[in-house]
């Protein structure tokens, strides 16, 4: 926990005395090292790549049930539907392959991505919507349905490949990264919890019937089929749920806040393998 506390203390210092930041500047590489190092120190028994399995690294988490449920994974229909969507031609004859590098195959680990043209963070869902709009189609909701199906298919083609989120040395990218980091560590809602309260400080501990997944690797299994949802949902759907659960008002699915949060949080798992779609209660 010590390194985590150091990180928290540093953050507190940053937010309290912003002037002190002058010249220091965000250092994503150092953050990633400290973040992953914290978990490796606190939970040394868990191999780094296994963090993508979230709660199932801990006893009493229902690992056997998870294994049984994923024997024929409940997201199988979503992958199938996503493949059909991916291969169906737009009215102009193009497909999603025209919008992505490598034809959209095996590239999920590169998202969220900083877009130098707009100066904003683009999640895979936002990139899909951009592609749709560029080809004369309407945006989809970012949380579930066809969007989640398509993200599931594009993610399954990326399975096993490392997460590789790049924060370029561009002040706008660094600002987005820093905003995501601040969001992650800021307390909010009636319960006054930050993302880190549950997923760093209490990672692996129980919250009633559930075991809390460590923040390290947590994005790797998205999109998720949750038994509670009875359907597949994206990372932003989970952000909304987490915010509601701590009694705070969720941000908009397409908001800069959630894009930046996804940017920071996914970058913290750089090097871990993509494992999505995943299955959770």
């Amino acid at each position: 926990m010590r390194i985590g506390l150091v990180v928290l203390a540093l953050l507190a210092a940053f937010s309290a005395v912003p002037v002190a930041l002058a010249g220091a500047g965000p250092d994503p590489a150092a953050d990633i090292k400290a973040f992953q190092g914290h978990f490796r120190t606190e939970l040394p028994a868990i191999p780094l790549a296994a963090y993508v399995n979230g709660p199932y690294n801990f006893p009493g988490s229902g690992r056997a049930q998870w294994k049984q449920i994923t024997e024929f994974p409940p997201y199988s229909f979503a992958i199938d539907s996503g493949k059909v969507l991916f291969e169906t031609k737009f009215p102009n004859g193009k497909t999603y392959t025209s919008c992505f590098s490598e034809g959209g195959i095996g590239i999920a680990g590169n998202y969220p991505m900083f877009d130098p043209k707009t100066g904003r963070v683009v999640t895979l869902g936002v990139a899909i919507n951009r592609c749709r709009v560029a080809n004369g189609l309407k945006k989809w909701p970012l949380t579930k349905g066809k969007m989640a199906d398509l993200v599931a298919y594009m993610t399954v083609t990326s399975r096993g490949r490392p997460i590789d989120v790049v924060v370029p040395n561009d002040p706008r990218a660094l600002a987005a990264y820093e905003a995501g980091k601040e969001y992650f560590y800021s307390r909010r809602g009636q319960l006054n919890f930050s993302c880190a309260s549950c997923h760093v400080q209490a990672a692996g501990k129980r919250l009633r019937g559930n075991v809390l997944a460590p923040a390290l690797g947590i994005t790797a299994s998205f999109p998720l089929y949750r038994s509670k949802w009875g359907s597949i949902g994206t990372l932003v759907r989970r952000f909304i749920g987490c915010n509601k659960k701590v009694g705070s008002v969720p941000d908009k699915p397409d908001s800069a806040a959630y894009r930046d949060l996804a940017y920071f949080l996914t970058a913290m798992s750089n090097g871990l393998p993509i494992a999505g779609p995943g299955s959770r209660p």
Partner: protein
């Protein structure tokens, strides 16, 4: 409502193992929607598996079978390339079926 059925069938040591994932809401009739109204029951009542046309399993399901049901069972015999059929009928009289070959 899409009614896909995914089937996997494998033969080993003279026994064929069949796994199926069936797309169906399996609404129990006890769950409320967002507006607070009960979602009426809608579930598969009978599901039947065949091997080369012969019935190898008949399932009678109630509203307590989970959404998008999974089932796994095995029977003696079967060889690679044989047809495994599955068909179901639900309490609304809707039906679906699919076939696969034993791997």
């Amino acid at each position: 409502m899409a009614h896909q059925i995914l089937i996997r069938a494998k033969v080993a040591a003279g026994s064929t193992t069949v796994e199926a994932l069936v797309q169906h809401p399996m609404d129990s009739g006890f769950i409320k929607d967002k507006s607070g109204k009960l979602i009426p029951p809608h579930y598969i009542e009978v599901i039947e598996f065949t091997h080369n046309g012969r019935i190898v399993l008949t399932g009678f399901w109630g509203p307590a079978v989970s959404k998008n049901p999974f089932i796994k069972f095995s029977f003696k015999g079967g060889k690679s390339g044989d047809a495994i059929g599955v068909s179901w009928v639900d309490n609304h009289g809707e039906t679906a079926s699919a076939t696969a070959r034993i791997a």
